[in-house]
């Protein structure tokens, strides 16, 4: 099943418009998710990675945020679905059923007034029309599957009665309820303790092996990416600046920004990777998405900058090893 494409994102662009300004949050982003594989979208906050995931789910805050170009295609068992062209009603049948999503803050992402069992059961009841009792039984089984001890008892607990790790497990159980083709995980481990983080990654990997779902993993933490992803896209200023096999990128980053990110990692986390210069922060601040420069968006912060970087848009070019890099000096950076 390794190479079956389940979700294809092509040239996706997203804008947020207010009366005063237009924020170009995502520009021309393309990637594909394959069954049983994890694809990581990496970048700082404001790089457009979360907006990309919300755009796939069509959950952008209307009317300010909208998809201005590109397409998202879901390859469901009964034929491809162009998500960007679906009616809102048809899209609702996809959310939670074919594509499920888990979020960064398990505390605030669960409704405080319902038991976790009810919240998990709600998915199956809504999409599959399962009876209340059946769905609740299913929820208990799911809680058990994601490693919550005494699941039958915990299903009756309210979110505030669970620990952070258990809440995130409950969120994952909720995502699994309809055996989705794709799970989008938006910074699912960021709010958790380091030890719990590792358990969570392990759990996601296990579940993926079991169900064969594709995972889109969104994070700013390259250490996490190394643990879980087979493919990586690094985003900066709403664009993908580098995309390829995870191992290859970690071994030899081609884009100055990717390189900067790897250099800023504490050495102990990427101990299995070639050690570079100790902890270096990237100078400057993240590009303003409402006032993008005409040339390379990373140029103002880039140590490799040349005059030609600032004049025109830089293309995302493929190298012989099928790695995509958006840099005129990609060969030199490596």
């Amino acid at each position: 099943m390794g190479d079956t494409t389940v979700l294809a994102v092509e040239n996706l662009s997203v804008e947020f418009r207010s009366r005063r300004r237009i924020v170009r949050a995502v520009s021309d982003v393309s990637f594909t998710l394959k069954a049983g594989r994890t694809f990581a979208l990496v970048g700082e906050s404001g790089s457009g990675k979360s907006v990309t995931s919300l755009a796939i789910m069509r959950l952008l805050a209307a009317p300010a945020g909208r998809i201005t170009g590109g397409s998202v295609t879901l390859h469901a068992p009964d034929g491809p679905l162009a998500l960007t062209a679906l009616s809102e009603r048809a899209m609702r049948a996809v959310r939670g059923r074919q594509i499920a999503m888990i979020f960064q803050e398990p505390m605030t992402s669960l409704n405080p007034l319902f038991t976790v069992g009810d919240q998990i059961a709600e998915v199956a009841r809504h999409h599959l029309g399962t009876s209340r009792a059946e769905a609740f039984k299913g929820a208990v089984a799911l809680l058990d599957r994601v490693g919550i001890p005494a699941a039958a008892h915990r299903a009756h607990a309210y979110p505030h009665e669970l620990s952070g790790g258990m809440r995130q497990r409950a969120m994952i159980a909720m995502a699994l309820a309809c055996k989705p083709l794709v799970m989008i995980a938006d910074e699912p481990t960021t709010a958790l303790d380091v030890t719990v983080q590792a358990q969570m990654l392990e759990l996601i990997r296990e579940l993926q092996d079991e169900t064969g779902m594709a995972v889109l993993f969104i994070t700013h933490n390259l250490g996490v990416v190394a643990e879980i992803a087979s493919e990586v896209a690094v985003m900066y200023g709403g664009q993908i600046v580098e995309r390829g096999e995870a191992g290859a990128i970690f071994a030899a980053p081609r884009h100055p920004y990717t390189r900067g990110l790897l250099d800023s990692l504490p050495p102990e986390i990427d101990s299995n990777m070639p050690v570079r210069a100790p902890l270096k922060a990237i100078p400057g601040s993240v590009v303003d998405l409402a006032a993008l420069p005409p040339g390379c968006r990373f140029a103002p912060r880039c140590a490799w900058r040349q005059p030609r970087c600032e004049t025109g848009a830089i293309a995302l070019d493929a190298d012989p090893a099928n790695r995509l890099v958006r840099c005129v000096r990609a060969q030199e950076v490596a």
Partner: protein, 316 residues
């Protein structure tokens, strides 16, 4: 739960003690000797003096104050100077009308204020939001007695849809009574409906931006399920408090509504008491209304704890 209640009861006792003191001070500042007012200009000094002794007005203020507090603890509000009956009995006689009026007005305000607030808050800056906000600020600007007079003039007098005043008397059936009370109920509910609209709207806007609403949408739930099941319950927590407190404060505003519509309830009793300097009645009503406010406050607080599992958990 027990601890929370006993803490609450302690502060309630303090507040009620201050309330009682305020009421006592107010009633003893009233100018003019009630005894001479009651007996009229023809009374002799002797008669007035005797009545003053009967009512205990000859004793020092501090003695009167202690006696007053003692009476209150026994829930004894004394005897009306004019009605010739105990204050408690006078209030009880009129309570049915005032309470039904307040319940009706609360229902009306909840029925209009909450749905409008939900509509306004569910889509911020949408049509309903703009309309609702305009309605809210306008509604809070209208003098209620003026609205009452307008309704009487046009709906009751000109169109004859409603009775002009009164409540049909004690023999009237519930339908007739309701017919009489609709206009006063609407007038009484106006400020509350407007307040509820505002609070519900703010609360809705706050809840709709929460992460768990995004989760609900990510599950594929439709807007009606998201709003009615996931947002509403959370949004209504603060609204419950407001409904309770405004219901308590409503009793004060019946003073105006009952006068406009000629309803012989508690509010009317207050106005009569003020105009006739019947201070035991005034004391009784003030104490009762303030007490009700404090008690409803407590009930709402406990209700809140019961509805919200987060607080409920911390109490067990």
């Amino acid at each position: 739960m027990f601890r929370a209640v006993s803490n609450r009861l302690g502060s309630i006792a303090t507040v009620m003690f201050i309330v009682a003191t305020v009421v006592f001070v107010i009633s003893r500042v009233i100018p003019g000797d009630p005894a001479s007012v009651v007996l009229g200009a023809a009374a002799t000094q002797d008669e007035i003096a005797r009545l003053r002794i009967d009512w205990g007005l000859d004793k020092p203020l501090i003695v009167q104050y202690v006696a007053f507090l003692g009476q209150l603890i026994r829930l004894d509000f004394g005897t009306s100077l004019f009605l010739g009956q105990p204050v408690a009995a006078a209030m009880l006689e009129r309570a049915e009308l005032t309470i039904s009026l307040c319940i009706l007005a609360t229902l009306i305000s909840v029925l209009f204020g909450m749905p409008l607030g939900i509509l306004a808050g569910a889509r911020r800056d949408g049509l309903f939001d703009r309309l609702g906000s305009a309605l809210a600020i306008l509604g809070a600007s209208l003098p209620s007695f003026w609205v009452g007079l307008i309704l009487i003039r046009f709906l009751a007098v000109d169109l004859g849809w409603f009775p002009v005043s009164g409540w049909g008397g004690p023999e009237a059936g519930w339908a007739e009574r309701l017919h009489h009370l609709i206009l006063p109920g609407v007038v009484l509910s106006l400020p509350n409906a407007v307040l509820l609209l505002r609070i519900t709207r703010t609360s809705m806007i706050d809840v709709m931006s929460q992460d768990y609403i995004r989760t609900a949408r990510a599950k594929g739930l439709g807007p009606s399920v998201v709003i009615l099941r996931h947002a509403l319950r959370n949004a209504l927590l603060p609204v419950v408090t407001v409904i309770g407190l405004t219901a308590a404060l409503m009793i004060g505003r019946t003073v105006v509504t009952e006068t406009v519509f000629g309803l012989p309830g508690i509010g009317n009793l207050v106005v009569q008491a003020v105009l006739r300097r019947d201070y035991p009645v005034l004391q009784g009503v003030l104490m009762t209304v303030a007490g009700l406010y404090v008690v409803i406050n407590l009930i709402v607080d406990l209700l809140y704890r019961w509805i919200d599992p987060r607080v409920r958990g911390s109490l067990q």
